[in-house]
């Protein structure tokens, strides 16, 4: 973890509109969005008559991280790389698991406790590949997608977090 000494000078807002971001997620598998995530809209992309199983993961902002009381946080993303790498991750998931379709979207910007930061959904004929692929996609996004999290604590301090300790 890295202490943030200065006010952020971070990358510009997202290049794509909300509708464009949902279309990219639908067509390529992954996008970033800077508005609240619409779980029902995302789930609608996965409705298929040949699928009996949908596994979904939602990541929410918790009020604690380790021993610190989190009041809010901000996610930043490198949009073009995130979309490109997300496409590769979803393609790989479709090769590794017996699934029909997978979609994920990550929110960036300022989030409050309880807000949804990530949604991952996988539709498949049978249940185990949906579970397995959903978990794999989430783990791989957490390892590889260029998104950064700055947490603000109740004592007004902030930190840049890392998924790798």
């Amino acid at each position: 973890m890295i202490i943030n000494l200065n006010e952020p000078q971070h990358a510009s807002p997202l290049k794509h509109s909300v509708d464009e971001a949902y279309a990219i997620a639908d067509n390529q598998g992954f996008a970033l969005l800077d508005t609240p995530l619409d779980a029902e809209r995302l789930k609608g992309m996965l409705k298929r008559e040949d699928c009996g199983a949908l596994a979904v993961f939602e990541g929410w902002v918790r009020n604690h991280n380790n021993d610190n009381s989190v009041s809010r946080l901000t996610y930043y993303g490198y949009e073009n790389l995130a979309i490109n790498q997300g496409k590769l991750i979803i393609e790989e998931a479709c090769r590794l698991f017996d699934i029909q379709k997978a979609v994920s979207i990550h929110r960036i910007g300022a989030l409050d406790i309880g807000d949804m930061a990530i949604w991952v959904g996988v539709a498949s004929k049978h249940r185990y590949p949906a579970f397995d692929a959903c978990r794999w996609i989430l783990d791989t996004i957490k390892a590889d997608i260029p998104v950064w999290k700055q947490e603000y604590y109740t004592d007004d301090s902030t930190l840049w977090l890392s998924n790798n300790g």
């Binding site: 890295i2 200065n6 000078q9 073009n80």
Partner: protein, 80 residues
């Protein structure tokens, strides 16, 4: 050659900017460029903590740079 460099997270904090275009000698390696920028902006992340992206795709530190490339140093990520 001209290289556009993108900064994220703590690197953007230290550089006080999210991107800049710089002119470097034609045979500059990515590692040499980071060393130079790290000295300039006092980046507190060593190169072995960073990944690199070239033109919006992940690349390798050993990849060569070309005029007009967009280069990003990717701090440890924290999505999900």
């Amino acid at each position: 050659m001209k290289i556009t460099v993108l900064y994220f997270a703590s690197l953007a904090d230290r550089a006080q900017k999210s991107q800049e275009t710089i002119v470097v000698a034609n045979d500059t390696s990515i590692a040499q460029l980071y060393e130079q920028l790290q000295a300039q902006y006092r980046f507190n992340l060593e190169a072995d903590k960073l990944r690199v992206a070239i033109n919006d795709e992940f690349g390798e530190w050993e990849d060569g740079l070309n005029d007009g490339d967009t280069l990003a140093f990717i701090p440890p990520v924290a999505g999900g």
